[in-house]
């Protein structure tokens, strides 16, 4: 065991964990006042559901010895049994438990990414159930394809440093499939649905950026030069993407917006994720600029094509993920993560072809399975709250809470009889009533 590497991956696991609350705030600020708590909860519930499933069978399905054809791992490690404290992860110098904790955080944030697409209208129990089935049927197998030593995409030589295919394309295309099942928000394209709290969006984007260093740099499972390159490339591409997004906005809309800066940063983080171990710093700038500008353009597609992806999961994660996943095929220098070279570095079309196979496989599988799973849930227990409840606000209906109390006129908070008071008779009188003796 190498304590330096182990310490770094442990720290990285903690950083990646922080991304899920970060995402919750990023998304939470973008919805309307009446939906903020539901939006936060859709991310937070992933922390609970996926963690338990990961222990029960998720880690085993993803990283245990292949069960057949590089498609899914076996269940030998169910309950994470038989994993010794001192046992090292295959071919690396860190304990299996540390690796499992790090990878768990990826499994948590991936379904949370999808939630932004169906904001404002999804029944919470249906969502929680969807998360449980989706990680089981889609995420665990796809992560096995890409990252397990005997996964079929890994064996083909597809480069996915930290999850461009398994996390971002996977979540982005699932978001599109789910939106097609669930349908549009009431008033889509008619009512204003502007973000209720842009400072919250900025806090969320900042936390995502910070946590992403663990996401990308930690994925090398060591603290060395490749890790350093992955980390600095992450910073470079993110900065360039923010500029790319803002540049396009200034030309198209005339303003440099806060939401654009935050979205551009996230688009850059998404795009550099699969490529951060293969590119040069200059290549990262090029990738970031392109990803920022293209994603800024792509978020407008929903208005033209008519699907209601509430918070642009498709425009940012799917489009950014595809750009980033193809990047090693074009810009890999061949001297960092692996010796595979991209098209622009004299490597020909070989690596680009492999990357295309990876992208296509995840797109097809995730879309089809998510669409079927979403439809089954929609037809049985129902995916949406009623139209009245959606208009009134999903926070009140699903959680019996509201995010903000703006005015004292909003209603009495006197406890309901029998709750929070000593006797039923006492509850009938307002708390501040004085009784003369």
């Amino acid at each position: 065991m190498d304590t330096g590497n182990t310490a770094f991956v442990l720290l990285s696991a903690a950083l990646v964990m922080l991304m899920t609350p970060g995402l919750a705030f990023f998304y939470g600020g973008m919805v309307r006042v009446k939906s903020v708590l539901n939006m936060l909860m859709m991310s937070f519930i992933c922390l609970a559901v996926v963690t338990v499933l990961w222990v029960l069978y998720g880690f085993s399905m993803t990283f245990s010895t292949d069960a057949f054809g590089g498609v899914v791992g076996n269940l030998d490690w169910y309950g994470m049994r038989d994993i010794g404290v001192a046992e090292l992860w295959d071919g690396y110098t860190i304990p299996v438990t540390v690796f499992a904790a790090f990878q768990l955080m990826f499994a948590i944030i991936t379904p949370a990414l999808i939630s932004g697409a169906v904001a404002d209208r999804t029944r919470f129990t249906a969502w929680a159930l969807f998360v449980a089935f989706w990680v089981t049927l889609v995420y665990f197998p796809v992560a096995h394809w890409v990252w397990a030593a005997d996964g079929w995409l890994f064996e083909k030589g597809v480069i996915d440093f930290a999850g461009g295919t398994a996390v971002h394309i996977n979540a982005g295309i699932a978001a599109l499939a789910l939106v097609l099942v669930v349908g549009k928000r009431v008033g889509f394209k008619r009512d204003p649905m502007r973000p209720h709290n842009l400072p919250l969006v900025m806090i969320g984007a900042g936390l995502l950026w910070f946590g992403w260093f663990g996401f990308n740099a930690g994925s090398w499972l060591a603290a060395d030069g490749v890790t350093g390159r992955a980390l600095i490339n992450t910073q470079i591409a993110t900065a360039a993407a923010m500029l790319g997004w803002l540049f396009l906005e200034k030309i198209r809309d005339g303003h440099l917006t806060t939401l654009g800066a935050a979205s551009g940063a996230v688009a850059g983080l998404v795009a550099i994720t699969p490529a951060c171990g293969a590119l040069s710093p200059l290549g990262s700038i090029a990738l970031g600029l392109v990803a920022g500008a293209v994603c800024a353009w792509a978020v407008g597609l929903k208005y033209r094509l008519g699907y209601d992806d509430s918070l642009d999961v498709v425009g940012v994660h799917l489009v950014g993920g595809i750009i980033g996943s193809l990047a090693p095929g074009l810009l890999a220098t061949g001297h960092v993560q692996s010796d595979a070279k991209g098209l622009f570095y004299g490597g020909g079309f070989d690596q680009l072809g492999k990357q295309l196979i990876g992208v296509g496989a995840v797109l097809g599988y995730s879309f089809v399975v998510t669409y079927i799973l979403g439809t089954v849930i929609h037809k049985t227990i129902g995916f949406r709250v009623s139209e009245d409840d959606e208009v009134a606000g999903i926070d009140r209906v699903e959680h019996a809470e509201t995010g903000y109390d703006f005015a004292a006129l909003g209603g009495s908070t006197r406890p309901t009889a029998g709750i929070g008071t000593a006797t039923g008779a006492g509850a009938a009188a307002p708390a501040d009533t004085k009784v003369d003796a």
């Binding site: 204003p192 502007r194 973000p195 906005e249 198209r252 809309d253 005339g254 303003h255 917006t257 939401l259 654009g260 979205s263 800024a296 978020v299 407008g300 208005y303 642009d312 425009g315």
Partner: protein
């Protein structure tokens, strides 16, 4: 008696308050309001999607005045609220039948 109501730009409130105080007004009511006039609202852009925001934040000021003071008070108020730019607002006077000071029950001019 008269009721003078003015809907003005929020940042003019302090000047209006000071001007009214200097004029000798003892009390007034201020409410946060929103609305639009001929110029309508403004446009905001979120990820390229434009939103027309019709209702612009305003404050509404209400002052009670004696019949003989009302016109002059209105002038003072309007002068203090004016910036000369679009969206300065409106002010108007309406007759009031009866005024009561809640604490004492006094009526009419005594209650002002």
């Amino acid at each position: 008696m008269k009721l003078i109501t003015a809907v003005i730009k929020p940042h003019r409130l302090d000047d209006v308050k000071n001007a009214l105080q200097a004029f000798g007004v003892h009390g007034l009511t201020v409410t946060e309001a929103s609305g639009y006039g001929r110029q309508r609202g403004h446009t905001e852009v979120y990820r390229g999607a434009e939103y027309q925001v019709d209702l612009v934040p305003k404050v509404r000021i209400e002052v009670l005045a004696d019949d003989e003071d009302a016109e002059e008070l209105l002038e003072v108020l309007v002068k203090a609220a004016r910036t000369g730019k679009i969206g300065d607002g409106k002010a108007w006077i309406v007759p009031v039948d009866s005024v009561v000071r809640v604490r004492t029950g006094e009526r009419g001019p005594e209650a002002l």
